[in-house]
């Protein structure tokens, strides 16, 4: 149901509600970021950002890390808003993901010249629902990546409707930014092309394709893409050493897509949103899933009349959902694009009901159900805040236990006993107890040993349970701390330090 722009009242109401949705989205994302301790992936990213801001250098690692855009963009934003590397906390560290997520809301709301009720509702669901709230405030590439994906989708649609050199160049540059954020962009490029073709009346019309794939235009797009690629990976043409690695990364990511320890069933993503209980807590978003499927079906049926941007948005997310479900490697945040599309599909379902010629009570009921569902999504988001880092929260994955903060606090308390001297700390284990290195980044007398047996008995010794030397019992006091689900750490504190600490209690 398009909003009548000639009717000023409708237009102002749309603007007002849109701004309200954005304000709500920002508030919920900040709230969630404050409630949730850093995931190890977030801490690794934060550490790289911190190093970039401290040293001005970013080292791209094609083995397991992603492109430089998130860090570079974050460093610029932090410079702009005046956040120093020493002032990072849970919320300001996640500023760029929050801004990216909010920018996507704005794109849905105000990206089209013809505002649509479906867009307003979609933005509402995306702003309030638990999954996008979490990953809209998660210091990984996903929120920025999803935003760039949708920008590229709409740029592609614009190009497709009337191709020219400028639009080809724009597509090339956005694609470069997309790849420089995260290498799985290649999957999304396939989905964007599939969605663009799927909504055309004659997707394989020879003349239409020939016009859009004209050699000159393709050359401009590729040229812009190459320019953007080199710009991002060479730190604005200052260091070309990482360009080869940026290409080699695709080989590694092809291998990783086979699972790398994160293999899950083809129904994994569906199971995240389907009703289930986890140790006494009920989860699930069946109404969203069902209404999203209805919206998809309505768009297919109404393909002649439904706005192309809405059709493309929903098709894009659907193709991503299928591709990611097929690929063995699965982590929840890979569903963020599909969830954005799901929100649009649900919004379209309700807008179709409201705009239909059905009995007016059915239309009122449609509005009522939409508002009720928005309320339900908000309630689930509040539940998610309570279980922000709990292993029973289905939307998070291998998240750091909230109780890990106790270990961080303990080290700070012991360290505060003698501010003149830095504690010497040994951390053992294959995973370095991340996010611990992030919290200890300012301490120069911390060492990390992959083999806990090799660790010296320093002031504090930390490692996985059962791997540390029993002789520590002669000189140190042990504590248990949770790192994440089923992963416990032993923290051994030198007895003299412990006694001094207890004097302060």
């Amino acid at each position: 149901m398009p909003i009548n722009l000639s009717d000023k009242t409708s237009y102002y109401i749309y603007i007002f509600l849109g701004l309200l949705v954005i304000a709500g989205g920002i508030a919920l994302r900040i709230q969630n970021s404050e409630a949730r301790i850093l995931h190890s992936d977030e801490a690794v990213q934060a550490y790289q950002l911190w190093e970039l801001m401290e040293t001005g250098r970013y080292q791209y690692d094609p083995e397991d890390k992603h492109g430089p855009l998130l860090y570079r963009l974050n460093a610029i934003v932090n410079l702009f808003v005046g956040i120093d590397a020493s002032e990072f906390n849970r919320s300001n560290l996640r500023l760029v993901p929050i801004l990216s997520s909010v920018a996507l809301l704005a794109l849905f709301l105000f990206g089209s010249r013809k505002p649509h009720l479906a867009s307003l509702l979609a933005a509402g669901f995306f702003a309030l629902s638990p999954f996008p709230v979490i990953y809209g405030a998660y210091f990984i590439q996903e929120a920025l990546f999803v935003l760039l994906g949708f920008i590229l989708l709409y740029a592609t649609l614009t190009y497709w409707s009337s191709p020219n050199g400028y639009k080809a160049m724009r597509c090339g540059l956005w694609a470069a930014a997309f790849f420089a954020t995260k290498e799985p962009a290649i999957i999304h490029i396939v989905a964007i092309l599939a969605a663009t073709l799927a909504i055309q009346e004659k997707p394989f019309d020879y003349y239409a394709l020939a016009e859009r794939f004209r050699l000159q235009l393709i050359a401009i797009a590729i040229g812009a893409f190459a320019f953007g690629w080199v710009l991002f990976y060479s730190a604005a043409f200052t260091d070309f050493s990482q360009l080869i690695d940026s290409v080699a990364a695709f080989v590694n990511y092809a291998e990783r897509s086979q699972g790398a320890g994160h293999e899950k069933s083809v129904f994994y993503y569906l199971s995240l949103f389907w009703p289930h209980t986890a140790e006494g807590i009920r989860w699930g978003e069946a109404p969203m899933v069902i209404l999203g499927l209805v919206g998809f079906a309505l768009l297919v049926i109404n393909r002649a009349n439904a706005p192309k941007s809405i059709q493309a948005t929903v098709h894009y997310g659907a193709v991503c959902f299928i591709l990611y479900s097929i690929i063995p490697y699965k982590t929840p945040w890979l569903m963020l694009t599909s969830y954005a599309s799901l929100s649009v599909a649900v919004g379209y379902t309700f807008s179709t009901i409201v705009a239909s010629r059905a009995n007016q009570w059915i239309r009122y009921a449609g509005i009522g159900v939409a508002l009720y569902l928005l309320g339900e999504q908000y309630q689930t988001t509040q539940l998610v805040k309570r279980y922000a880092a709990d292993s029973r929260n289905p939307y998070i994955y291998q998240h750091t236990s909230s109780q890990f903060q106790k270990l961080v606090d303990r080290i700070e308390d012991i360290d505060a006993l003698d501010p003149e001297t830095q504690l010497s700390i040994a951390v053992g284990g294959e995973d370095n107890a991340w996010p611990l290195p992030w919290y200890l980044r300012e301490n120069d007398t911390v060492g990390y040993w992959p083999d806990p047996a090799q660790m010296p008995a320093l002031d504090i010794v930390i490692g996985p349970t059962g791997t540390l030397s029993p002789s520590l019992g002669d000189t140190h006091i042990p504590e248990y701390h949770g790192l994440r689900e089923n992963v416990l750490l032993e923290c051994w504190i030198r007895k003299e330090l412990w006694d001094a600490f207890m004097e302060t209690r």
Binding site: S40, D41, V44, Y47, Q48, E51, E54, T55, D61, D64, K65, A260, G261, H262, T277, A278, E279, G280, I281, T331, Y387, A389, D390, S391, Y397, Q398, S401, S402, Q403, S424, D431, N432, W434, P437, R441, D444, T445, V446, G447, Y448, W449, P450, P456, L458, T465, G466, I477, P478, E479, Y480, H481, G482, R484, E485, N486, V487, L488, F501, M502, R505
Partner: protein
């Protein structure tokens, strides 16, 4: 950071050399601090059969006629409205840890209290918090008293609050990993009508859980 680290190690090494010259040629241990390595998303750890790595259960000698006095008895708590489950689960005899068998209390320091209905001689208290995950519960404190408000005549038979964070005094008992065997506490024939068990979250989250509590004694 690497530069900073190298400078500090270098200064430390020089200091050690100077120190050694004044200490009969002895050399202090020199430590090189390896930097952290950046890891990928951690993979899931599955531990289907948990075994406590610690001490075996204590052997408690009890007289004939010792029974589980807590069986079916009333349980009260500092959290009157548990987040999940009911307080009656704690004395219903079911020790499974799955959904429907445990009660989840609010975060922070919380307690449950069992009323044995008359003053009893208590030899042992067995506690099952939650055992489908590898975790340890913080600040487990077991007290016995004839005073239902636990303001007088309190005997503490177990306390592993080693840093006194719950404020009942520093405990000397050790932390332990939860298993399906539970934790058996030697109550040393203490006398009392009420048994109170404190906790302050666990290594996985801030919540407090109880599956079952058994109190072995005579009345």
């Amino acid at each position: 950071m690497t530069k900073k680290l190298i400078s500090i190690i270098a200064v430390a090494a020089l200091s050690v050399s100077a120190f050694a010259a004044h200490h009969g040629g002895k050399k202090a241990l020199e430590i090189e601090f390896p930097p952290p390595f950046l890891i990928g998303t951690p993979v899931q750890v599955n531990l289907p059969h948990l075994e406590a790595p610690g001490t075996p259960r204590p052997t408690i000698m009890v007289p004939e006629g010792t029974t589980n006095l807590a069986d079916g008895k009333e349980v009260t708590s500092s959290d009157d409205f548990p987040i999940i489950g009911g307080l009656d689960y704690i004395t219903d005899g079911d020790k499974e840890s799955e959904e429907g068998y445990f009660v989840e209390l609010a975060p922070g320091t919380q307690w449950i209290q069992l009323d044995l209905e008359s003053t009893s001689t208590i030899y042992g208290v067995a506690i099952w918090h939650f055992h489908t995950q590898k975790r340890a519960y913080h600040d487990v404190i077991v007290q016995i008293s004839d005073d239902d408000s636990f303001e007088s005549g309190v005997t503490t038979v177990f306390n592993n609050d080693h840093d006194n964070s719950s404020g009942f005094g520093k405990g000397t008992d050790k932390a332990y990993l939860e298993t399906n065997e539970g934790k058996l506490v030697d109550a040393k024939a203490s006398k009392g009508r009420y048994v109170r068990i404190y906790g302050a979250g666990n290594t996985s989250n801030e919540m407090n859980h109880f599956v079952e509590v058994e109190v072995f004694g005579t009345q």
